[in-house]
């Protein structure tokens, strides 16, 4: 979540093309520059790997939330139908798990979806009152931005600017937060 609490002085390389920025990430890293983050108007496959971001663990969260939905439904049906107020309907046992499959399935999906989306929002620091950290307003339109945190790099500003330009950046701007 380093991008959420970004502060300080950044160099922002602006690229026109997703293939160029993907190649640039490798070139810039090879030149010894630490990249803060890349911003794009749409997902670029392989970019997270090139940047060295760890694989998302959202799947684990989704599974656990789904499991909690399954257990909730199992408990709810068992408690109400065979413990709190047992009733025989249609000649079935008061506890007949097969009949509860639809409810169990729906609650599993519901808990899983809501829990996962909630986890996604929290882990990315997204919320209605969050002010977005935009390194360049055009990155939600047609440009791709590579942000370099100057305080985390030992190279001088001019050298980094040259590396960015060599990697295909159309322009390099300074952004101060």
């Amino acid at each position: 979540m380093s991008d959420v609490n970004g502060s300080g002085k950044f160099l922002v390389g602006i690229y026109d093309d997703d293939d160029v920025v993907l190649k640039a990430v490798r070139d810039v890293k090879k030149a010894g520059v630490r990249i803060h983050e890349v911003y794009s108007p749409f997902p670029i496959h392989g970019l997270d790997v090139a940047l060295g971001h760890p694989r998302s663990r959202l799947g684990i969260a989704a599974f656990l939330f789904g499991l909690s939905g399954t257990l909730t439904a199992l408990t709810l049906t068992a408690y109400t139908e065979s413990f709190d107020w047992p009733m025989i309907v249609g000649g079935k046992d008061s506890y007949s798990p097969v009949v509860y499959v639809p409810v169990i399935f729906e609650l599993t999906v519901l808990f899983c979806a809501l829990g996962m989306v909630g986890t996604f929002l929290v882990s990315n620091g997204l919320g209605p009152t969050v002010k977005p950290l935009m390194y360049d307003l055009r990155t939600t339109d047609n440009k791709f931005a590579m942000a370099i945190d100057l305080s985390k790099n030992n190279l001088v500003e001019g050298d980094i600017e040259q590396i960015l330009k060599n990697s295909g950046a159309a322009e390099v701007n300074v952004k101060q937060f």
Partner: protein, 476 residues
């Protein structure tokens, strides 16, 4: 045709669009003043909605006696309309979830509007559930609340309770899926906004999205899991709706074929409604480069397939009614086709089974006028299907002295009209204030599916692009 991915595939985006063009073309209608056509359509919808709302309140005030129901036919237009709207609500999630798993790229241009349609259709369907309760203030009795709330625990063995869970889960998950898909586009509108008010509103709804690589990676992962969840979910919804009938003992309802047959019918009618809406949207918002004849043809193929499945189901039902040797079952089906409701049965057969077969012709499949007309016909047919299943199965009761007919009253009709007012009011609001095409997703397919690649999109030479092995592939 200069094509990057493969010369065999027809392009999904025409007109040589750049990334900036996509943003501009789609954002235009959100940022501009409402057009005259929109204002007229919206005014009519709101008037219809006001009239319909008054009628619905009158229905509740007077009681369900204002409908044409009688002792024998206790379910008629209310449940017909409910099943019809829920069915229509199946296309959106099918397009966004199942077609995502099948990697059907054409889905990117139509999924946003189709998902919106799904959500509004489910709202319309739910309104009939509330209506047919007669006492909507007691609707919470359908929820599993402790006995001290005034009723017993709900009966978890009843398909009607399964329906409560299925419809509410489906609505919630579809809404969440749709809203998550909107986040990047809301951020685009936010960053382009000129006025403070719209920057604030779109800013709040875009939740601070900034498109970082880490967010995108997680976002893609989440979308994939949501699609995986929604796929069985969408199939479960109409399965459970069909069980409302199939688990009963009424001849004509008591059929094991119902779940797959209802699901196919739902997709069939849903795609027909998507066609109707998209054909209007693409002209009014000038999106012919994004929603092309290829899209229309693809959806018509789905309509032909599902329509044929429905046709096979009709014939199977009829065959089994005879083959089973059950007199009551045979009578129910012969009565459907030749009894007093023969016209409804044959309207259903003509509209659902016969007319969609015209789509085997490529020229008709690619014709806008034919597609629009046949889609309307399909939805008329699917309404009749539900009417036939519900009313003709009920109107011949066990005792001939109880046989009856159903005659709709003004309020049956007006409450149905209400749902159209509600649907189109919501849809027009969506079409004005939110981007109707998913800009971020369309941008991802520009390079692989564009008619010709504009030079300004790329800084890479074309030869290099073709030679780049990662370019044409989906790397997950």
């Amino acid at each position: 045709m200069s094509h990057v991915t493969s010369a065999v595939r027809t392009p999904l985006i025409t007109g040589g669009k750049t990334y900036a063009d996509v943003t501009e073309d789609i954002s235009r209608q959100v940022e501009g003043r409402p057009t005259r056509e929109w204002t007229i359509a919206f005014t009519i919808s709101v008037i219809v909605l006001i009239y319909g709302t008054a009628c619905v309140f009158w229905t509740w005030w007077e009681g369900l006696g204002v409908w044409g129901l009688n002792k024998t036919v206790g379910w008629a237009w209310d449940i017909t309309n409910f099943v019809w709207w829920v069915g229509i609500g199946h296309a959106g999630t099918l397009i966004s979830a199942i077609l995502l798993l099948f990697r059907q790229k054409w889905r990117t241009a139509v999924n946003r509007a189709a998902e919106a349609m799904t959500i509004f259709a489910v709202i319309c369907a739910a309104s009939f559930i509330l209506m047919h309760m007669g006492r909507p203030w007691l609707a919470y009795w359908a929820l599993p609340l402790p006995n001290t709330f005034g009723s017993l625990w709900v009966n978890f063995k009843s398909p009607l309770v399964w329906d409560v869970f299925a419809i509410s889960t489906y609505f919630t998950v579809s809404l969440v899926f749709w809203y998550m898909g909107l986040l990047p586009d809301l951020a685009t509108i936010r960053d382009r906004a000129r006025s403070k008010v719209s920057r604030y509103i779109y800013g709040a709804f875009s939740l601070g999205w900034n498109g970082s690589a880490k967010t995108w990676a997680r976002y893609e992962y989440m979308s994939l899991i949501l699609a995986g969840l929604s796929t069985p979910l969408v199939l479960s919804v109409h399965t459970i709706v069909s069980m409302d009938f199939a688990t009963s003992v009424i001849p004509g309802w008591h059929t094991t074929i119902f779940p797959p047959y209802f699901v196919a019918g739902a997709i069939f009618s849903g795609f027909a409604m998507v066609q109707n809406l998209m054909l209007i949207i693409r002209v009014v918002f000038k999106l012919e480069d994004y929603i092309t004849v290829e899209h229309i043809e693809s959806m018509n193929k789905v309509i032909t397939l599902t329509g044929s499945i429905v046709g096979v189901a009709y014939l199977t039902e009829f065959f089994i009614a005879w083959y089973s040797g059950v007199e009551f079952e045979s009578y129910a089906f012969i009565n459907r086709a030749t009894g007093p409701y023969w016209w409804a049965y044959w309207a259903m057969m003509t509209c659902n089974v016969i007319s969609p077969q015209l789509f085997w012709s490529r020229a008709i499949r690619r014709s806008v006028v034919w597609t629009f007309t046949l889609s309307v016909v399909v939805n008329i047919g699917m309404w009749f299907e539900r009417f036939v299943i519900i009313v003709t199965s009920l109107h011949r009761d066990y005792l001939p002295s109880s046989w009856a007919m159903f005659h709709p009253t003004l309020f049956d009709i007006s409450d149905y009209i209400f749902s159209f007012g509600l649907f189109f009011t919501l849809f027009l609001l969506f079409a004005k204030f939110l981007p109707v095409v998913n800009m971020a997703e369309v941008k991802t397919i520009i390079k692989s599916s564009s008619e010709k690649l504009p030079v300004s999109v790329s800084g890479v030479a074309k030869g290099e692009r073709v030679a780049n092995p990662t370019f044409n592939k989906d790397v997950d």
